[in-house]
């Protein structure tokens, strides 16, 4: 079974935010929710890099561990899904997530965050809705994965900075790139998310 991962090659990311737009459009994500975002570090200084970040679909996902109602779980492809019917909107997954992935429709005073929303790897929801159904789309967004396709953000990245797919394969692609061009800032978040780094 393939283990799905994301990898952002920060030396290629041009901060165009096309991935963000693609995600919003494909999943019809409501206002205020950003399943994917681009963060620029050292902005305007030497060593500036932009990194596109969403849910990394972690190994031993901390969000799933802390969730008080156990509504987050990994699929056999390593995609971390959740069930909005059971989510109580406690916000704990955001405190545990190393990548700021979980999003909430409301500000959250008095515990009124609403149901957590996050990147689904374009693989629909973890609830009882039938895969690919309109009900699933309304609640979680697209289920491209069920149709054999990869997340749209990575698919339409113009510089192929953002890679999605089997972890071993995208690590290999990235490794080859780094060796060829002679530099690489590393696979952002990999040690934290997957307990391993891309050896180059």
């Amino acid at each position: 079974m393939a283990r799905m991962k994301f990898l952002c090659d920060a030396d290629r990311c041009i901060d165009c935010n096309a991935c963000v737009t693609a995600c919003k459009n494909e999943n019809e994500v409501p206002w205020g929710i950003n399943r994917r975002r681009v963060v620029t570090i050292n902005d305007g200084k030497p060593g500036e890099r932009s990194v596109s970040m969403a849910c990394m679909h972690c190994t031993d996902a901390p969000c799933a561990a802390v969730c008080p109602v156990n509504c987050i779980f990994p699929t056999e492809d390593g995609v971390v899904l959740h069930n909005k019917d059971q989510c109580i909107g406690c916000g704990y997954c955001f405190y545990a997530c190393p990548f700021g992935a979980p999003q909430y429709p409301q500000v959250g005073n008095f515990g009124t965050r609403g149901k957590m929303d996050k990147c689904t790897y374009c693989a629909g929801g973890g609830g009882p809705e039938a895969p690919g159904s309109a009900a699933e789309f309304a609640k979680y967004g697209s289920n491209r994965f069920g149709e054999g396709k990869l997340p749209l953000c990575a698919e339409m990245c113009s510089t192929k900075s953002l890679l999605a797919g089997d972890g071993d394969i995208i690590a290999q692609i990235y490794g080859e790139r780094v060796r060829k061009r002679g530099y690489g800032s590393g696979a952002w978040g990999w040690t934290t998310a997957y307990h391993n780094d891309v050896g180059v």
């Binding site: 963060v39 570090i41 109602v69 190393p98 005073n109 965050r113 800032s185 934290t192």
Partner: protein, 334 residues
């Protein structure tokens, strides 16, 4: 040299030192020919994570917390929540229950040694009892609904199934969040009403010297509250403030706090809550099964004269004098 000049010199030396240390790092950003070296100017995420606890940057959306790119501490917080808190909390709470059970087996129910006199004296007025029970009821509700967040998925979820458990937890969350206001109101009332009688006095030392009333044939003198009760009072006030302050931070997420602040607020909240629960378990024990004649003080508000004499002699003497009544032994039962 004046002090100021010396200070300036020291600052200059420090600044020069800092430049000297930073220079090699800067130099590395250029190749031997002086052109920027792409390999060297790379911002290695591995090195960055060694230098800072959280990698942050600029973000296009108006959500400042989204500027945190990677915070490995999330995994540390996960470890606290899933391992330290759950094991620590279970050990502290079950341990307290076990200790109290042992205490009961050894000491039994502490009796009123002189027996009941049949005469009553008012210990807590209705309003004082209202403040106590307001705090107590909201505390129990907060404790149970809070512990559901910590232990519910291990204890309750297997019993009722995931959907029912989610519904219960959703309701429990709102109950927890809004009962907080009743708890804070009760806490403030208790603080105002009982503060004066809980200030430490000389008699508290005597009470301690006499073994706090746990040693037979020794009388431990005390005012309205004995040293043990005063400790419960002050620890409760301290824990109450800590749990409320951290609780309100959790209730208004990311107002003046960042991700670290929220994690710390949860740690403070959970740890204080567990210790607070252990303290109150002890308090409940001594106020109910642990001691004869104690519960009625907060129940009906009146206690037996002999109970008061054994546990709060100085308070009783003042109280009776104020009411113009005589000591219990002098007057037969009315």
């Amino acid at each position: 040299m004046t002090f100021l000049a010396r200070f300036r010199l020291a600052t200059l030396v420090l600044a020069l030192l800092a430049v000297a240390v930073a220079a090699p790092a800067l130099a590395q950003k250029f190749g031997p020919d002086g052109a920027p070296n792409p390999t060297a100017s790379v911002t290695s995420q591995r090195e960055l994570l060694q230098q800072v606890p959280r990698i942050t940057g600029r973000i296009d959306i108006p959500d400042t917390k989204a500027g945190v790119l990677i915070q490995p501490a999330g995994r540390t917080w996960d470890y606290f929540h899933q391992v330290l808190l759950r094991w620590g909390g279970a050990i502290v709470i079950l341990g307290t229950v076990a200790l109290l059970a042992i205490a009961y087996l050894i000491l039994g129910r502490l009796p009123i040694s002189a027996g009941r006199s049949g005469q009553k004296v008012v210990r807590f007025k209705a309003f004082e009892r209202f403040a106590h029970w307001l705090t107590a009821a909201s505390f129990v509700i907060l404790g149970l609904t809070g512990l559901n967040i910590t232990f519910g998925k291990a204890v309750l979820l297997p019993l009722v199934g995931p959907d029912t458990f989610a519904a219960i937890s959703q309701a429990a969350k709102y109950v927890h969040n809004f009962t907080s206001f009743a708890f804070v109101a009760g806490l403030v009332l208790i603080l105002v009403i009982f503060l004066r009688d809980n200030l430490l006095e000389k008699v508290d030392i005597d009470w301690l010297k006499q073994g706090g009333g746990f040693i037979k044939n020794r009388h431990a003198p005390s005012g309205r509250f004995n040293f043990g009760e005063k400790m419960v009072f002050w620890l409760s006030i301290a824990a109450g403030i800590a749990v409320s302050a951290s609780g309100f931070l959790l209730l208004f997420p990311f107002y003046g706090t960042d991700i670290l602040g929220m994690q710390l607020a949860q740690v403070v909240h959970a740890v204080t809550a567990i210790l607070f629960i252990a303290l109150i378990l002890g308090h409940i024990y001594i106020g109910t099964v642990g001691m004869e004649g104690a519960f009625e003080a907060m129940g009906t508000g009146e206690v037996d004269l002999n109970w008061a004499k054994e546990h709060h002699d100085q308070w009783l003497a003042k109280k009776l004098a104020g009411e113009g009544r005589a000591e219990p032994t002098a007057t037969p039962a009315e």
